[in-house]
């Protein structure tokens, strides 16, 4: 799947993931009203509006980007109907040929991580037949529990040719509280990064590993260090746009081959219509606004990479 992701990145020329992170405030009113009429003003109605909202975005950007990243928390907050919307969103994205990164940040002791891995990237076998739960292509994984908590995901990835992105240095303001703590003079995130690189050696695709890393766009200097520390690790970079990361900050996350990083933007794309810059599209044309925001993001990244000679 890492080979497939890279093929799609090369084909689209856009190392971009669209974060499908719906919240009530982002969903255009006409979609909510339509869904409420049919399903009621309740979680079922919201879930239906989310699916429609996502479909609109996906239809508008599927030819421009290689991948999407639904954040499961935004669906989980609406309980079971929300999780059904998560599942439907994934199915629709895969029908449209997109790689799906499930931003689930799971991680537990071995037997429990195995259950998460099976549910999201693999299958359960019941009476000789296989069943798949959520069917993401990649999942994000939290490393706090160590190798035990990560290896069951890797085992399922090996069987299924799917992948993971392990949290190394997250994009949020307080990520340094534990991740920057110095161990023999070096921050914890470097240790985690080295582990990710080592885990990845056991699960290589053609040029990059099935074991990727998450490093926030908001920490470009850390990105530069981690890029060198994990040369064959694909880096999923959140924090562009709404969280403050800029195109010029991103160049450090890429290798000299122009590959090695894929940049996520969520609100900046899916709610572009709420920004002054794209306000002329109007709320009903939120999908066209999203498409333009992707095109602008692509230019921003391309210009930055060109300027850096990457």
């Amino acid at each position: 799947m890492i080979n497939e992701l890279i093929k799609k990145i090369k084909k689209t020329g856009a190392p971009i993931v669209v974060g499908l992170d719906p919240t009530l405030k982002l969903i255009p009113k006409h979609l909510l009203e339509k869904a409420y009429k049919e399903y009621g003003e309740n979680p079922e109605g919201v879930a239906q509006a989310i699916v429609e909202y996502n479909r609109g975005i996906v239809d508008a950007v599927a030819d421009l980007v290689p991948a999407v990243k639904p954040q499961i928390a935004m669906y989980e907050q609406f309980g079971i109907p929300g999780l059904i919307a998560y599942q439907k969103t994934i199915q629709y994205c895969k029908e449209k040929g997109l790689v799906v990164i499930g931003d689930i940040k799971r991680g537990d002791i071995g037997s429990t991580s195995e259950a998460y891995a099976v549910g999201h990237l693999g299958k359960v076998t019941i009476g000789g037949a296989d069943y798949r739960g959520f069917e993401e292509d990649f999942a994000t994984v939290n490393p706090y529990l160590g190798s035990d908590g990560v290896k069951p995901f890797m085992e399922v990835c090996r069987q299924e040719k799917r992948g993971i992105f392990v949290l190394v240095k997250t994009s949020n303001p307080s990520s340094g509280e534990f991740q920057d703590q110095k161990i023999d003079g070096r921050p914890l995130y470097e240790l985690v990064g080295e582990k990710v690189a080592a885990w990845g050696e056991d699960l290589m695709g053609d040029g990059y590993s099935y074991v990727g890393a998450v490093v926030g766009a908001t920490y470009p200097e850390e990105g530069r260090i981690l890029r060198k520390l994990m040369p064959r690790t694909y880096i999923l970079v959140p924090g562009y746009g709404a969280q403050g990361g800029k195109g010029a900050d991103l160049v450090h996350f890429f290798n000299e081959d122009g590959l090695g990083a894929i940049i996520n933007s969520s609100r900046g794309i899916i709610a572009a219509y709420q920004q002054e810059k794209y306000a002329a599209y109007g709320e009903e044309n939120y999908a066209d606004a999203a498409r333009q925001a992707v095109l602008d993001m692509k230019t921003d990244i391309k210009d930055a990479l060109d300027a850096a000679g990457k």
Copy 2:
């Protein structure tokens, strides 16, 4: 809810949580066969069998213990039907007066943690009405992202009088890989423990905080240190039984008042019928075996606390 939990611990005299972690191999055959006949040999059938299995256990132990801890991964592996079984299990446990600790180990950047907190411990408001997703009383939280990732859970806990247990030192063999790394001579888990204690000061119940910690029974020495470092923090202790923790190891997790810790056992109770010791009950009487395993665990802990004068 921490006051309620402590009240129930005192009333039952059992600082015990029953881990409701069903897997296909643990569910008694007669329950699977019955559910398969009605719902098919598929995830829906398994989900129904899980609910029945859990109901049997809960009926058998509800008067003996204060709390249960369903591990959501074991349900999530069966996709949407599994998560419906998770929800039904929680509802049933609450009807029976048990405190429910959702072992979800979530944690993300602020806005995302807020969505998890709302979905599991709080409510979403749609058109003026409130809806609750999963309705646990407590949830486990991963601290890797720092304060940002934990405080949205605390905010919801404050509104809802619910609580969290933050991972500090986990029970698995490789937990030391990052958690034991020395920072200025002290392991990371101590730093996390100090943070948990500090967060907890802002959200106190009568004697203990709404912000608890997870420390594995498999690390009794670390438990002793953390107990002193976080005097008003309730410690959820996994790893007893199947993972190797013993009664004598547990005394370090308790304060002198005999409170401050609650010990989880999952397979050791719910699949007691599979152990030689309880084999005489037979698979059909798995619930009676579970009840006896709880009584034995209660004695094991009580003897250890008595011997330690706690």
